[in-house]
């Protein structure tokens, strides 16, 4: 009996020690989960990892598990996790998908927290408004961007052309000149211009860029849901002309498009600031000739918010606090500046890049300038259904431009489809 009591006392003591130890462990080792499709992207992932390392250094006992999820299934994975009650602690999202999370009530309002850094938000990206839903701010924009024209200087010089085009008319003309059979075997070795001509979001990007030239203040639809028929017809007609001239290789998706430009098999393409990664990946001898310029659409620029950071509503308040601290660090001048120098992307915070840096990085100058003037790619009233809207535009554009179906008939079908959407 005495032995038994002694054992019980020892066991109790051990349990108490264990409990304190465990409690201490919990308090000291918090793991925040942050999935991202950018976790393996050269440049961008280096910046994320450096930011995470700094956050962990500032918050001993807190670690961030930065995991990779493929972009193609990223949104489905996140929605499934939220619906299943298992959201990540720090939410990194493509801006185009933000509204799904906002309407489901999955994101914590950040207004009170943002008030603490109001001076920062005053100089934040002009597309920060995409994070607003029903009067609340639910995210912070990571990257606001404008499209640029990637052009191959060597190809232009070989054709005797002075510089990149500045209007779509010039683009069509120049693209024709740059489309050449250099080896004389009857096959085209270099196309003038390249854009995706199979089912891909890049089809919408290209068509919208042309549309903005015709109607800088308009979009595919207005707030009443009426199609901008004249501007769409203009955009499709210009694209048709490029294809009719044989200036565009057919059958490529966005990756194929980039590949063609990087390998010198296409002289021009439209792309976001992530084009820098493509330039860096080009082979020696080609890379030096790959340049960026303003898009040739008479001053209008396709762009908007690329991706955002948010805090899930249904996680522990302590974790929410830590997630916010991470976002706060992300908005700091130092890390915004490093977004340009390490990730090679234009920072969302204005005024963090000094003149010396910009002078040494003319492409960055261009990216920052275009991001500040870009027109948002989401038409009015379409944010909640943007993915479906974009797919409708892609299919309609392919039907009108590549399959050369009657433009009016395609417009009528598009109008009916968009009416169903609204």
């Amino acid at each position: 009996m005495r032995i038994s009591r002694s054992i019980r006392h020892h066991a109790l003591a051990l349990a108490l020690v264990g409990a304190f130890a465990a409690g201490g462990t919990f308090a000291q080792n918090i793991v925040l989960e942050m999935p991202s499709w950018q976790a393996t992207e050269p440049g961008t992932s280096d910046w994320w990892r450096a930011l995470i390392a700094e956050f962990e250094a500032q918050n001993p006992g807190v670690t961030i598990e930065f995991t990779h999820e493929p972009f193609a299934s990223y949104n489905q994975t996140m929605v499934t996790r939220f619906a299943g009650g298992n959201p990540p602690d720090i939410l990194h999202l493509p801006a185009a998908n933000f509204m799904v999370y906002a309407t489901e009530g999955w994101l914590a309002p950040l207004d009170d927290r943002l008030a603490g850094i109001a001076d920062v938000m005053d100089v934040w990206s002009p597309v920060q408004s995409v994070c607003e839903y029903e009067g609340q701010t639910l995210c912070v924009v990571v990257l606001g961007y404008g499209y640029v024209l990637g052009w191959n200087q060597a190809a232009f010089e070989a054709a005797g052309l002075a510089g990149p085009p500045t209007t779509s008319e010039e683009l069509i003309e120049v693209a024709k000149i740059l489309t050449v059979d250099t080896t004389g075997d009857g096959a085209i070795d270099q196309y003038g211009f390249v854009f995706p001509t199979v089912t891909h979001a890049g089809v919408e990007t290209t068509a919208t860029s042309f549309l903005f030239e015709y109607d800088p203040d308009g979009h595919w639809v207005n707030e009443a849901g009426e199609l901008n028929r004249d501007a769409i017809t203009f955009a499709w007609t210009q694209l048709r002309r490029l294809i009719a001239d044989g200036s565009v290789p057919l059958g490529l998706d966005n990756n194929g498009k980039r590949q063609f430009w990087v390998e010198g098999r296409a002289a021009m393409m439209l792309e976001g600031p992530w084009i820098q990664g493509n330039i860096n990946s080009a082979a020696d001898g080609i890379r030096e000739g790959l340049q960026v310029a303003a898009t040739p659409f008479d001053g209008t620029v396709y762009g908007g918010a690329s991706n955002v950071l948010a805090v899930p509503a249904d996680i522990d308040p302590d974790r929410q606090e830590l997630a916010w601290k991470f976002i706060e660090l992300f908005t700091s001048e130092e890390w915004q500046s490093k977004y340009a120098s390490v990730a090679g992307q234009p920072p969302a915070r204005a005024g963090v890049l000094d003149d010396a840096f910009l002078a040494a990085n003319p492409n960055m100058q261009r990216f920052v300038a275009e991001a500040n003037v870009a027109t948002d790619f989401i038409p009015p009233g379409m944010a909640a259904n943007y993915t479906r809207f974009r797919d409708l535009v892609v299919e309609a554009t392919l039907a009108a431009v590549v399959q050369e179906q009657d433009i009016d008939a395609v417009l009528n079908q598009l109008e009916r489809d968009i009416a169903r959407l609204r």
């Binding site: 929605v79 009650g85 059958g251 590549v402 399959q403 179906q405």
Partner: protein, 305 residues
């Protein structure tokens, strides 16, 4: 009294053996109920509500109705997908069955290297759909694909065909990949069926003066009818739900030319988050599959031996 006792004993024994049988079947029944019947019931229920993202904690709210089915009937994209699905299932089945029957007949003949030939013919079967789709994407690539190269070499075309930018060629490319992936199934089943046909039937037919075509038509095909029936059912059900090949090759494009009901269900549920509408399309697809199964089995269930 003795009779009654014996009957009770017999009854108890029969009941016990039935109970034993059910006990043995129970795990399988439970699994089927959990992984097939339960999701089916949930999907059926969901199709009558307006759910964007399904959450078990919320359940189904709002007034149930036929609105998703009404939307579906009024949606041109649904009818286009239905048409694409029927075309895809038809050509996929015809192509796979044709090549499968041809290769089965070939491999049923004795010749040197038959073992190796059987392995080669079966190769597409274990290859994952995504891999098969990638192979065919390269083959049909408009710039450097081998299909365009061969067609140019033999003079059938004058310039490269952009396979994935036009409706007809894209549908052809996707169907070709599907047939390639699907024909070995027919080869296996039909070859097995052919080897079980009694040799005496052919000997008797030869004695009666039947030629090779007559033997093939009146013995081989007639004897294979139940095998053909069940193979067609399985293949059709597979084709109704093929997703990987189409999604990887075309994503359902261009302009919906290869968007089957399976692709539409996926896009509605996981790209546009209209899960109730997707469930409604799923129910219709299920109904079509059931109808196709009944039709095939009625047409081919009779065997002459």
């Amino acid at each position: 009294m003795i009779h009654s006792l014996a009957r009770r004993r017999r009854f108890t024994s029969a009941a016990r053996s039935r109970l034993y049988a059910f006990a043995l079947l129970a795990p399988a029944i439970i699994v089927v109920l959990l992984v097939i019947v339960y999701p089916l019931v949930i999907a059926g229920q969901m199709s009558f509500f307006d759910v964007q993202v399904f959450r078990r904690d919320r359940g189904f709210t709002g007034t149930p109705g036929w609105f998703n089915y009404r939307d579906m009937v009024e949606n041109a994209a649904f009818w286009r997908s239905l048409q694409v699905t029927l075309g895809y299932v038809f050509w996929g089945t015809v192509g796979s069955f044709g090549i499968g029957l041809f290769t089965a007949v070939l491999l049923n003949q004795p010749f040197r290297g038959r073992f190796l030939a059987r392995i080669l013919v079966m190769m597409p079967w274990p290859i994952p759909g995504v891999v098969a789709a990638t192979i065919f994407m390269w083959m049909f690539n408009s710039s450097f694909g081998v299909v365009n190269y061969l067609l140019l070499q033999v003079g059938l075309i004058e310039s490269s065909v952009p396979w994935f930018t036009r409706s007809g060629p894209a549908f052809f490319a996707v169907t070709a990949a599907t047939i390639w992936k699907g024909y070995p199934f027919f080869t296996v089943t039909l070859l097995a069926g052919m080897q079980s046909i009694p040799k005496e039937l052919f000997e008797a037919a030869r004695v009666d003066g039947a030629n090779a075509v007559q033997q093939f038509r009146h013995i081989t095909i007639a004897a294979l009818r139940p095998v053909i029936g069940i193979s067609l059912v399985i293949s059709t059900l597979w084709l109704f739900r093929v997703f990987d090949i189409i999604f990887v090759m075309t994503g359902g494009g261009p302009s919906g030319a290869t968007e089957t009901l399976a692709i539409q269900i996926y896009r509605e549920a996981f790209q546009y988050f209209q899960m109730s509408y997707a469930a409604a399309v799923g129910m219709v697809t299920l109904l079509l599959s059931v109808i196709a199964t009944f039709v095939y089995l009625r047409l081919t269930s009779k065997s002459f031996y």
